[in-house]
Symmetry: D2
Subunit: 418 residues, 4 copies
């Protein structure tokens, strides 16, 4: 009888191994080392046991037979190998591997947020996964620099054999965009064609793409979650939007008095303009009509109530209940920001490899198209970046009532389910 699975981990000599060597799996295999290990010491056998008997080797586990046989240089097939094509293939495959990981993480987070009640216990893990996506995005943005070691003349030598070469044309990249929450209507059109057209004869891929548009995106789920932020319910004894609006109004009023007392007319005018602008800005977060018209113009994304939730979390982030949510909002901005930096790095690369082609007759160039994807339209969590416009100094923040603090703490109280 072999060592029970339940206690395996504890006994695992892997505790002292480079990284988790396994142990014998069944008797038939275990026999081997005995035969071969005649005069050897125990230690040697220790390692022999691991190596010889475990069914799954490092290479098998990682399926290296697939991974390491997938590099076919087209230049070699069509004539003479162009040295740099190998890098070109490998780096894009590395991108695709990481894209798969990003999708895996985002999907897992979306699954958690699809629950009606999100267990507090899971928030640590949610943020860990988001932070991991942040790190991967930074890694991929840096990775572009390696491809810049290719010179345009090298690229010219093999690009004829390619149909496309950019991670941005990849299905997985489109899935990431959609799963995060890039809206179809915000996409820049490339020579009037829909981004889906690329896949129009690939049924399975088109299906995945359509599904990713229809399923609730991370944005949708975060929005729904923000709408449940404790303290934003208008029926509570503490209602954030009302208290916050009061605080702002009293600041604005006081400002106006100060301005009216200003003796220098030029300065007064400047300050008054500033005052009016500020007033108008603030009204946009308390006046649902104004808010909705900004949404209609594509300048705001989150619903009225979700925006209030995000604002409340930012302002009261010291509350234990908001510690992790605040980190989550930061991570979402980090992801947006890094994806956009990566797009930018990619644009620079394309210009270097292909030129920006300033003279031309028909159709906008690929370079111009890529530059256009740097616009705000591709920033999913745009509203979080703009939250800073609506902050007020800490000392003006309306205090929470005991009642609402109690409710908030209640969320943390629920024992973790195991």
């Amino acid at each position: 009888m072999s060592v029970s699975d339940k206690t395996r981990s504890l006994l695992n000599p892997g505790g002292g191994c480079p990284a988790g060597y396994g142990r014998p799996k069944d008797d038939s295999v275990k026999e081997k080392p005995v035969k071969s290990g005649s005069g050897s010491t125990n230690e040697q056998e220790g390692i022999n046991l691991m190596v010889e008997t475990n069914g799954l080797s490092y290479g098998d586990y990682l399926q290296l037979d697939k991974i390491l046989t997938a590099q076919t240089c087209q230049s070699e097939i069509h004539g003479e190998l162009v040295h740099d094509e190998h890098l070109f293939i490998v780096i894009h495959q590395a991108y695709e591997l990481w894209f798969k990981q990003v999708i895996f993480e985002i999907d897992s987070i979306r699954k958690i947020f699809q629950q009606d009640i999100i267990e507090e216990a899971l928030m640590l893990e949610v943020n860990k996964r988001l932070q991991r996506v942040v790190m991967i995005a930074k890694h991929l943005a840096d990775q572009v620099l390696i491809l810049e070691t290719m010179t345009p003349l090298d690229f010219m030598d093999f690009r004829d054999h390619l149909s496309t070469a950019s991670g941005f044309q990849s299905l997985q990249f489109r899935l990431i965009e959609n799963k995060l929450g890039v809206k179809s209507e915000h996409r820049v059109r490339y020579n009037r064609s829909n981004y889906r057209d690329v896949y129009k004869e690939k049924e399975k891929e088109l299906e995945q793409l359509m599904k990713s548009e229809e399923d609730p995106s991370l944005f949708d789920l975060i929005e729904r979650w923000l709408m449940r932020t404790p303290g934003t319910n208008v029926n509570d004894d503490f209602c954030f939007s009302k208290s916050y609006q009061d605080a702002i109004n009293s600041i604005l009023e006081e400002s106006l008095k100060d301005i009216e007392n200003e003796s220098n007319p030029k300065v007064r005018e400047v300050l008054l303009n500033s005052y009016k602008k500020k007033k108008e800005q603030y009204s946009s977060i308390f006046d649902q009509e104004k808010h909705d018209s900004l949404i209609a113009r594509g300048e705001r994304r989150l619903s009225f109530q979700a925006l209030h939730g995000a604002l409340m979390i930012s302002l009261y982030r010291e509350e234990p209940i908001f510690h992790l949510p605040h980190q989550v909002l930061q991570s979402l901005m980090d992801i947006d920001s890094l994806i956009t930096k990566w797009r930018y790095n990619h644009v620079m690369l394309v210009q270097r490899m292909l030129g920006s082609s300033q003279i031309g007759t028909g159709g906008s160039s690929g370079y111009q198209y890529l530059r256009s994807t740097l616009s705000e339209r591709y920033k999913v969590f745009l509203d979080l970046f703009n939250l800073s416009t609506f902050l007020i100094p800490r000392q003006f923040l309306p205090p929470l009532t005991k009642e609402v603090t109690k409710i908030m703490a209640g969320y943390l109280y629920t024992p973790v389910q195991r």
Copy 2:
């Protein structure tokens, strides 16, 4: 009368400025733009106002008169400028600036942890500051690569004019080590002299150094804090150390049975050795005597009870009360790890600039000394890295009682003091 300070932030036109242009400070200054701005538009005046009237310019604020006049190449003074000396000075000054920031962050965290009760509200900020130290440490480790563009022959051209050249000889670096918790007795001696000797004729610096040795280090404070971890109190209805020991014992017992049933004697022997080793390892965390003898040998640092606290936080990190503490422990490891990577990068640099000097008679070489500082002795939070040795699989984890969960939640309940 000028705009009141209280409402200044709200009106600040900086809301739309690159980064926080100020506004008029007093009437006498405010007059200026009026005179000069006769025919100009409002917008222009807006920016004129800011620039002309604010007492503190960008350069004054940053005291650039000091910062940018502190680069005196000794090679230039002693004859001919060696081009690379300028980089050498600037990079070390950049290190010192960041050292000051790291000290600032660590001191602020030490101050928080010196309180008898640490408000939950502060934990978010504590972790933010630790994470900032992590980012700085990564930045400094990468910064070494810039200095590697200097070649040894360039270095030889000016190193005669220097007394020392390493950030590691800097007072601030020693302060960081001490404030984190590097113990004097763990330091490797460089040619039998004490690390303090460098400062023995500089009274003020020596004093700072002595104080940093005597004041409670971040390690000391974290240790004290870990000892208060809820659930580790032996009088509670749930006592972590007892429950955990029980869980381990039952796993070990079951393992032993399995091993005794193993038919292959070679395999049995291997497994038995593994079992004994594991048993001995575990006993070291439950047997205070064994623990203390490891401390005496310098192989463990945290007190018996603090180690249990750290273990409990790691195992039950899903509990909301442990979310931030878990992140704090991760951040402390990150800092330790990055400082050690930075030491390593520095060792590589020194070897490249000066050689490892394999033939020599007297005194260990600087390179050898530096290599020795890579040892475990300089890792402050060593025990946290080794925690993984004592983990058990999730399914064996003893469940928390309702009572202890309630107590834990209580900590989070206390309203944030404003």
Copy 3:
């Protein structure tokens, strides 16, 4: 008598020291260790000698009394310290230090290129320095991430005390732009004011700025150097522009024949459009008039002849004479590209701290202004990025004549002057 300066380096025990400890400078100082070192071993005295007797300590060398006393938080002066202001000051000072280094490197390269004949021997050093600027630029682009750990609410707590906060408003940054070759007329105007206005009451700074506009920029000098590229002289037996134009014409002719034979009219039309566009593009590098009209429109920068030089270097980079020049062109693009990436990172930061302020009446916002600096107008070596548009496949490249190769080699032949 002391050890002669000339042989100091060889004897320098620094060879075995962490980083270049010095040695005794004069007898009066050297006496000290004798007194104190009575019973000590030689090794100890060795280190004592170094530490006690050298006039210039680590701190003195780096002028840390200036560097480390230049952090005055305005928030502390005006009331209560805002924790994050310290980071804000330190990071901007670190930027300024590195700006000074970048200026130092660029000035040294400009000095080399101001010579009428540039010694081949210096090209290695030129590229080393450019590569160092590349590394610094990458470091600074990454550094922005550290400042992103500041949250907008923290920033709001102290930004009232600042007049400006961006490295982009710094004099040194403007000098870098000008010294690289950003033209005054390409600058985006911020609210109709000239970028020089910021300094209009600071005589010395304004003077520096004006001088940096008037002095030949790195761009100007590179342009002049490119115009001297061997092989581009029309009187040589090999004239690049003529040979290259011939090669292109024969490719175009052959293409046209193929297109005319194309049976599918739709395909023919597409190919014909493509042909016309290509033909027009190529004509822009051989037709001086077209070239000059592109310059007038700001879409091209390099002179007609310099562009041919750059093209020749790119195409014939395997020639030993072009090895280093090719690396120089690559490095220049790297610098341009990284500065622009850094601008981008900064724009993201500003949006996060201040919002993009979508509603407003007067004046474009700072965020909008910063976004506009991302345009091609700020890319100094734009033409190098666009070179790829004019490349032809390697197999069509006209071979160099023996005569021109000999001339090229001649440049490398001149013995290095010592």
Copy 4:
């Protein structure tokens, strides 16, 4: 008839595309767009043509069917998916992809250096490829940080299903080591077993491993190349080793005189010790016997003559003939240095995941083993790092004769073969 292959590149509309869209390959395919593109504009058809008609899509080119189906989590097969296993698989696959690229680059460089005469024209490309390996190595060292987001408890949840987990156990990593030049006899033994044992039942892999040990490594080839350095031939009118030894001797003599005049006996003693040490060090590069005994002890690697070649290149790097060779030596050190930094990062990771297991009976732990691989024994180009020990200040450098400069230039003269 389709557009001829020869002119394809020029007409390639890819010049304006994100990255090299292809064009129609044959008539049968080209028909498609005609059918579908009835009412569409030219631009749309342009892109339709590309997408629909090119046989090789982005996904096919990258063989994503293999790459993206190779992630099978063992935890899922054996029961329940452990979330972090997916990252663990993906990151190791990314390592393996990059390993393949590194091998590809190193093999291509080895092939060039296997020629008896290395064309000067190729040196630019050699250095480009080495620099690419440098960038990849930096990227991989940074990549470790992503895996640190996995916590030990997560790792414990699935490591039982693995046989091994480290890139260091991978065949490709061993090949890289061998191809660079890690010698079998320098390898640290892990529990007395040979590093080859892991593959002893995998015939094909073992064969590759054996071949990589037997084939000339990059080290071997660089050594051979260094031995041909112009100026190091003893029969030339300029013989580096003789001239250099003379220069050093005269410096040493002068030093000795100075020391003898030193009045303070303590200082004299210190200086005399330093003198003796230096003298001994220098003798090791001119005395073949001493050199060979250092080789025997494993403290030196390069042959006597090759070491002189490397020294000459470092000292006379301003000579055009040495520009690229100097860069090559720098790049080789960079690679060595980064691989070692990566090993270090990996050691830190393993300690965090598994602990350093301080209590134990049998067998050295994996952590201890890994730490031992950080030793100098794994540094292939160790001698290049130590060159700095043997440098002398620039002003003492013996001038090159006209004759030798002419010979050097001759190497650059040979026209590039096309």
